[in-house]
């Protein structure tokens, strides 16, 4: 069978997200598994020239570019109409993929609703379906179960970040400019008033490949810098349990868990976190989990891959010291 794939890339402010590179690579592999087909990279936004080469180096067959000031800010209603216009040039059988970033997770359901097709969120595996379309696998119930979902031809899926390898394949995919379709009135009822960028030297929690999270086991806000120091030296992002946020040690943006953020990094280091189920659902899909906790019976040790039973205030400085000694 053949399968044509449109990848809707996530970019903001002229930077291509790593998650977009991962999705472009997985689209390439999906087409290979299907035994034929083409990958289209779809870019929607404004002032996108600088990221074109970054898209091309991921080896799509074609690039569809919709570059217009009216599309500067992401807005699901407008971007869904834009994506529909891009689809017109792509022959069936086809599917639409996007990274499961905040943008992709909002964009694709709106597009799928308009198209009348299926949509699946946060896929961790994508294969061609012999009956047409694709089959994906995803976790549900905070990682307590997985489901396989069959999506017919024409459907949409977002791919979980930090899950698929980004594998550049230099190429010079031709770029086709797609004219901006009429933007519906509901999309004009919304506008971005301001944007606060996170400081440059910080890594976004949901995108980070390493997350270092701290809990009440750190005993007080004065010790929480240990979490941030370790995160920084590892090139990762700091995070916190709900207890820490509720106690006011750190803002809500740090929180991982059911009422906070969901992360699935390559490495998750839980420091002084006992591992209540509400925390576990936010991080149990991480590839490698390390727990440092004084209580050997803490539930975090059941989901962790490596455990150190001991006082975080002694262990973490030793870790930081060892890492610093290596990188003078």
């Amino acid at each position: 069978m053949t399968l044509n794939v449109l990848v809707l890339t996530d970019q903001r402010g002229g930077t291509l997200k790593t998650a977009s590179r991962e999705t472009l690579s997985e689209a390439r592999r999906l087409v290979e598994r299907a035994g034929g087909g083409r990958v289209w990279a779809g870019l929607v936004g404004s002032g996108l020239d600088a990221i074109l080469p970054k898209v091309q180096e991921m080896g799509p067959d074609s690039v569809l570019l919709m570059d217009d000031p009216v599309l500067k800010d992401f807005q699901a209603a407008a971007y869904a109409v834009a994506a529909r216009a891009m689809l017109e040039g792509i022959p069936s059988p086809r599917v639409i993929l996007a990274p499961a970033t905040a943008m992709g997770r909002e964009w694709l359901p709106r597009l799928g609703a308009a198209l009348g097709t299926g949509v699946a969120t946060e896929a961790t595996e994508v294969v061609p379906d012999p009956e047409g379309g694709i089959r994906i696998r995803r976790t549900v119930f905070g990682g307590k179960a997985t489901v396989s979902v069959a999506l017919p031809e024409g459907s949409c899926a977002t791919l979980r970040v930090n899950t698929f390898a980004a594998d550049p394949r230099p190429g010079q995919a031709p770029v086709t400019r797609v004219p901006v379709p009429e933007i519906p009135k509901e999309a004009r009822a919304i506008s971005v008033e301001s944007t606060v960028e996170a400081p440059r030297d910080t890594v976004d929690l949901t995108q980070a490949s390493i997350v270092v999270a701290g809990g009440r086991g750190l005993k007080g806000p004065e010790n929480f810098h240990l979490v941030e120091d370790l995160a920084r030296i590892l090139g990762g992002a700091p995070a916190a349990s709900r207890a820490v946020v509720d106690a006011g040690w750190r803002p809500a943006s740090y929180q991982v868990g059911q009422t906070g953020k969901t992360v699935a990094p390559q490495l998750y280091i839980a420091i002084g976190i006992s591992g209540a189920i509400q925390h576990l659902v936010g991080m149990s899909n991480s590839r490698c989990i390390v727990a440092i906790n004084r209580d050997a019976a803490a539930p975090i040790f059941k989901v962790a891959h490596y455990g150190i039973v001991g006082d975080a205030l002694a262990i973490v400085p030793a870790l930081i010291g060892a890492l610093r000694a290596e990188r003078p």
Binding site: D10, R12, D73, A76, A77, A102, M103, R105, E106, P109, R110, G112, A113, G116, G118, V119, E122, R135, T139, F141, G142, K144, A145, V147, S148, V149, A150, S155, P184, A187, A189, I190, S191, V192, E193, T195, A198, D204, Q207, L234, A252, S253, Q258, T259, Q266, Q278, F301, K302, H305, Y306, G307, I308, G310, I315, P317, A318, L319, G321, A322, L323
Partner: protein, 267 residues
């Protein structure tokens, strides 16, 4: 101002799941259900705060689910919602996220609405599609990952903060609109006994799903699900952490770094 809050009745986070004989879902037998899932509670709390701050505001909770979902709606009424509507589905009815959104949209079209709020995802299927899809079906602007909102009912304008990777955006929006709430920076209120008693007398309307499906035939996607779960599986139980033995913190640190580099290969 008329607020609509979409809620879903889901299994409790602590409950143990077993695979149903069909192999495509969990066995509801013996499963403890939450009153409402935590994402919804935060969303409901956010709406009730808007109601508290803006006299004349009403909160109408809507849900698509089996008869047991009435319990969740009653709990929402006990928290302070004014009215509830349940689109009642039989156990044999197959749903997917977008069909659920179409059913909700069909019901919401018949109710006055200035703002439609949903949690960013349900705690069970974690699809997170309903808010954005509702925006399309209702022909309204939508915004996801909302972390804070302020309403100006006089000018019918809304200012929201939303999470984006690497920052935060402030958006200006016109009513009506659909918002998916990431997390209310709030502690959901606990219903008081008088409110629980009062909730029993608040209007709760039940709409059989069969009353809505025929009208959906002409919608994109129609009256049937467009995606299908083919398998529901529980992962094998984890072996538990490999505990690193040590005599000094330095030794523990060294052993951990070696394991992460040589065994796990994540550093």
């Amino acid at each position: 101002m008329h607020l609509i809050v979409g809620v879903k009745h889901v299994p409790d986070a602590d409950t143990r799941l077993r695979v149903d004989p069909s192999g495509t879902t969990y066995d509801p037998d013996g499963v403890k259900f939450t009153i409402n899932n935590t994402y919804d509670e935060a969303t409901l709390e956010e709406s009730l705060r808007l109601k508290d701050g803006n006299p004349g505001t009403t909160v109408h909770v809507v849900s698509v689910g089996p008869p047991r979902a009435e319990e969740g709606l009653r709990a929402a009424l006990a928290m302070g919602a004014d009215e509830a509507t349940l689109v009642e589905v039989g156990t044999g009815t197959e749903l997917d996220p977008l069909l659920t959104a179409r059913l909700l949209a069909a019901v919401i079209r018949g109710i006055p609405h200035d703002l439609v709020l949903v949690g960013r995802q349900a705690a069970d299927d974690e699809a997170g599609q309903v808010g954005s899809a509702l925006g399309h079906y209702l022909g309204l602007p939508s915004a996801g990952y909302v972390t804070g909102l302020e309403v100006d009912p006089a000018s019918k304008r809304l200012h929201i903060k939303r999470y984006v990777e690497g920052g935060e955006e402030t958006l200006g929006m016109e009513f009506p609109a659909v918002l998916s709430i990431l997390k209310g920076a709030n502690d959901p209120r606990t219903p008081t006994l008088p409110n629980i008693l009062k909730a029993r007398r608040k209007p709760l309307r039940k709409v059989p799903v069969g009353d809505l499906l025929p009208a959906l035939e002409t919608w994109p996607g129609g009256a049937k699900p467009t995606s299908r779960v083919t398998a529901f599986q529980l992962p094998p139980p984890r072996a538990g952490a490999k505990i690193l033995e040590y005599t000094s913190p330095e030794e523990a640190a060294g052993k951990l770094l070696a394991a992460l580099r040589e065994e796990a290969k994540v550093l």
